[in-house]
Symmetry: D3
Subunit: 292 residues, 6 copies
């Protein structure tokens, strides 16, 4: 408890200088549809139990609900990622960081270190220091490769220790050889030996909407990544996706079981059986397995 409050204070201190941050009031306004609790700064907190269920989903199950929602056409970012450890699903709550090309008149007054005594701490490291269990850092570095390397092996270790999840960066990572053994899933655009370069890039926003591929990501969105790409799920849709997916799982299990018998054409079975007896058999199977 004490720790939580400390974090909050630090947040207020370290980040108030950013050009863009959503106030708690704004966070509530722009995530008004969130049906769950919230963190101290207003960010939606989809419960851990729900995150566990999301880990069992496929990206198509996310699509099947989200593509029907008017006003949410582009929550998917599928093109051009390089993926480290594509065999591990990436699931967690988005925290967002936005960079833009550096210019001194904006950078100097917005750097949290300006006017502070004590050691200089890079803005992205302050951001990493605030990460919590279940968070997924989502970093908009506008595809920058040289000097756009958000972490090397040391900070990647720090992220993984804090979050137990992974990382999304529309930019680069450094020291791919050193990061590989950590075993965390990372979605990135490139690799470069240079460290992040604050003379060409500056932090402009923390926990604001950011554009990743063709998706707008909000803090508190559920990040879902696998071989098929990345989805950013607004909290208000998580439950429906999880609920519908159970039926899809059972349907696909039954469909492939039937096809594996070699006795049917695909259209006898898929997308749904036409024969009344098969139909009945499937419905029975579904009833028996739902909720198990």
């Amino acid at each position: 408890m004490i720790f939580r409050i400390c974090v909050l204070l630090l947040f207020a201190l370290s980040m108030r200088a950013q050009i863009f941050t959503l106030t708690r009031e704004q966070m509530l306004k722009y995530t008004a549809a969130n049906p769950y609790g919230r963190f101290a700064d207003g960010r939606p907190q989809v419960p851990d139990s729900m995150l566990e269920k999301v880990k069992g989903l496929s990206i198509e199950e996310v699509w099947s609900v989200l593509h029907e929602q008017p006003g949410y056409k582009d929550q998917y970012a599928g093109e051009g990622w390089r993926i480290m450890h594509p065999d591990k699903k990436l699931v967690g709550r988005a925290v967002t960081l936005q960079f833009m090309p550096a210019r001194a008149d904006l950078q100097q007054p917005s750097d949290p270190n300006t006017g502070k005594s004590g050691p200089h701490i890079s803005p992205h490291q302050l951001f990493i220091d605030d990460l919590q269990n279940g968070d997924v850092p989502v970093v908009d570095l506008y595809g920058k490769i040289e000097g756009g390397t958000i972490v090397g092996d040391n900070l990647a270790t720090a992220i993984f220790n804090a979050t137990k999840t992974g990382l999304v960066v529309d930019g680069a990572i450094r020291d791919a050889e050193g990061i590989f053994p950590i075993g965390m899933p990372i979605y990135f655009r490139g690799v470069h030996p240079s460290p992040i370069d604050y003379s060409t890039a500056m932090v402009t926003g923390v926990n604001i909407p950011v554009k990743i591929g063709d998706a707008t990501v909000m803090p508190g969105d559920i990040v879902f990544g696998d071989r098929g790409g990345l989805y950013f799920i607004p909290p208000q849709f998580v439950k429906e996706i999880v609920d519908r997916a159970e039926t899809t799982h059972i349907h696909d299990e039954w469909t492939k079981m039937k096809l594996d018998t070699g006795k049917y054409k695909s259209s006898d079975i898929y997308p749904s059986p036409h024969d009344p007896a098969l139909k009945k058999e499937y419905e029975l199977y579904l009833k028996e397995h739902l909720g198990k």
Copy 2:
């Protein structure tokens, strides 16, 4: 036998509505050089025993014969594939499916379901229902990714159960996570969570020549795929390729064996030995191993 005729009738029924299909007469005309038997619809049937031999080839051995044939410059499609399971060779007889961007005036009269009672079966699923052992579906989806996903895990299972081979699609697949465990080699351009979208794409041809990369593929061509790309071998060249490859296998075996002794410069041995004694040694080795 009975089964074969059924398939043929079904074919006639289900596909007669397509805009483009080669009649049996046309199939014979355009594959007149085929030295083997044929399926009921006229498609060349390179024998299974020959397919087994093709599985032992390398793509360079295919090249060495095909690049010499006047009029067959572009049977290779090597650029821009993503390959699932590149460690498994893809070998089989091509069946082809062509899509174009949808327009209602063409799509409605050419859909096999138009004017038919009973359940609606998507044209590409009718195509999958007709697949036989040893077939390789080769699908021209003109590089379409979103809404250009020819299969997900259910239909991929259906294809693999029917063919025991794999899939080539100049377009996308869906549910890469669910398809991966099936273990079939797939050559594709991208992945997307959406299903195939008949409001933007329509089937225009079945078992016609299709363009894949820079190659024109005919039904009955032998599909050959490995890490090095895809070849589409007209039936009339299969035997010569297989025959010549045996010599190449023995040659490479001997060459590498000699180089591994560390006693020779590469030009002493490769492409062929200059020294009369070595020359003789190689010829003896070749004679002993040919046909074994």
Copy 3:
């Protein structure tokens, strides 16, 4: 009259060997919605008077009708064209020609010259010989540049003399310097000094649906090209587009006239006036100018 019949016979002779051609019966089936007359081969013949009206349109006016039609999402091909004489609108009736990469087993039996005595005439030149006034050749050369040059200055002259329109080729042209002075609008992908190369490309279809960019083009479609790209308008939509455009013309004329006074904010006037007096003024203006 005599001329028309000759053309038809020639057509039957010269082209029957093509792999794909729509028979008159198929042409009627796939253009059943055409409200106008037809050429002898069944191709829709949107009247010249209507073509004249189409020349007064903008590409946005075409879009405003076509984007509403279910099943016609992609009649626009806007990306990646190089345009010769972009200041001249291209309007006419599509005739289509399809190429694929050459392979001898298809090319030899489908070449109209095979088995014929007399001089060899290249298939694309036979196609050009059949062009009529108001036609626009639409050629699918699958983006081929070297050896994919459908015309140089001589054949471009032949096309322009016959059609008085222009040319669309998803491929290349030759002799850009010599073609430029002819003054016809051409939409093409590149330029190369080589002539078309029948050892790497072959004609596979004449007057069939072809894919150009993301559009499927049918013979008889109205080609509409300007600086904004290309539209292929199915005949059944031409009249509605022309009718609606008249209102848009008057609306834009009035809107810009008002804005030019400098007395209004854009939202006072555009997209439509809110003020009742202005509304009335506009309606009066519209009534006075419609049909003039």
Copy 4:
């Protein structure tokens, strides 16, 4: 005066709902180096007389000062523009507009129309209504082409009437044919017949820093565009650029005059003469022409 206040009030009304807007206080903080006056909302107002001088510059003269400033490496955006009327220089004060992919939970509460009676006015049109003489709209539409068309001929007319300058859009324009005759310089990425589509894009910021190419643009920056690309000049550097350019103009005039005599090698004259007599001649020429 009265007018100025009205504008300010309107601004407050129309735009307060945007997710991101710099308050007057923030505007002062982030443009603290501005040596000139300001608009009511705090945006720097480089004087008209200075804008006139900027029109006489070349892009190299801008570069020669800006590339030396630590912290301003990337004020140039030169790649990938299509330019309408490249022969006319684009010079004016930036006002900025930022879009992101639409999502309903952000879009609804941030739309200025939400909860307002009266006619719905699109956010980008409200932005256009506020433009003043000498402004250059700089729009971040993240390269979107279809549905990313910020203006057609009507709104382009409105912009030109208000600003007498031009337009920069990292996105598309509509109705290129209708916009061309207005004669204003426009830097854009593509053309599409569709209007802007608020179901896939939403306004997220007005008069905030935006990223255009590799540059971060601030409201009040001087936009400078010619055949060589675009520069966004922070107000604090305008005077130095103008001052130094005069010398460069005279230097280049003298250099080319000398080279045109045909009596010198380039290195006798350029970058500066080595010969003492020539050196003296140049210095005299410079002194005589400076300030004229």
Copy 5:
């Protein structure tokens, strides 16, 4: 005469330090097929009278001879050029300059200024100082844009004054606005406001073979550029190209004259007439016009 010798001496002085230069002996060896005279340094000197004739050619006429020469497949560089003044043909004798990414251990000992007193003259400016009437500088800057700008308006003026031709640079130019009025044809890859940057690029060769696009260019090759791209013609082929082109000119003149009568199909006339009377007419026409 005196001037010529001076140039030669200067050449020897200024350039001996380059990493790669062909000695006169090497120049003779690698241009042994040159049928014309030579410059003092051994570079082939195709006569001015021949250059005049080359100006009347089209790029297709160059192609028609060169594509037949075994061992000269790739003398054409057609892709990806931006052309300034494409309406003016570029014809002249190639002089070549090669850059590579800078590294100090190579750059310092190969800079002609090293160890010399007097003013520092940039290596590319020494190269420009040596240009003669009829030369075309061909510069391999490996596609470099930022810092790869071989000339601005001052040095472009120097080049044009010396050569009366133009410029080819696989790299960039600076100050496009200032260069445009000079009116010389330039083939380049991009534009950037920065000057050439010797901390990232260094001169590695003068008058050696350089790679431009897919062509290898030798000093003394005839550069031929128009809207259709660039050809680099080895001297030994110039005469044959010029001779054959005359026939092509007359042929095309006659062909278009005939087609313009509107009485013939294209295949009656092109590529050559079949009808004996027409054939005769053409042959007569050719005889009458040859050599005129």
Copy 6:
């Protein structure tokens, strides 16, 4: 010893015909900073013991020294490689080979076979025959894929047997399936079934500076490749890199050990501890481990 001299003589014989080769004198001039011994032809010979230490480096450690050296900005080539066996580090001494597009007038006099009796040995195979233990062939094939395949399985075996290292080719390899089992790391651009084609490419230089990506590579540079790309290290910097890396290793070890305790924020520890006690602890740890 005898063997070494033979190699030298052979070198002199086989390669003297190349257009570009550095003489021993030139090699010394351009690698004057080399602090180690040399091969007979002047190529720097960084000792084996040093190569062993280089194998323990990461690419970031190379960067940290090289990016500080004035005049060596671009020794890194990171973009666009396909890597075979990325899990194995590639370390060795560069030997370089340069190709350009073929033209007969250069190729014939520069081919080492010209005027020689005996069997024809391809120039690239002569190059391979000269390879020694610890060499890494670095081949500039200007990105050529078809006909740009420097090795298949036979010559790859020859390279690996001679060098025990790997291969860098800015071009293609052939027979990827056959090369894979050899297990050597290869950096390449593509795969094609064709062999190298001397009618479109010719060898122009041996052991000269070559451009690979944005780097200039000299014979004797240390090639360093891993998942993060390729570095070409001039010999004069190897020792400093190795020395500094030891400290980095210990630093990273200590940093990650501390972060793994879960008791610290990243900024308490990284990049260096602020707390005096931690600082002291780290310094002690460093002292204890340096040189171990």
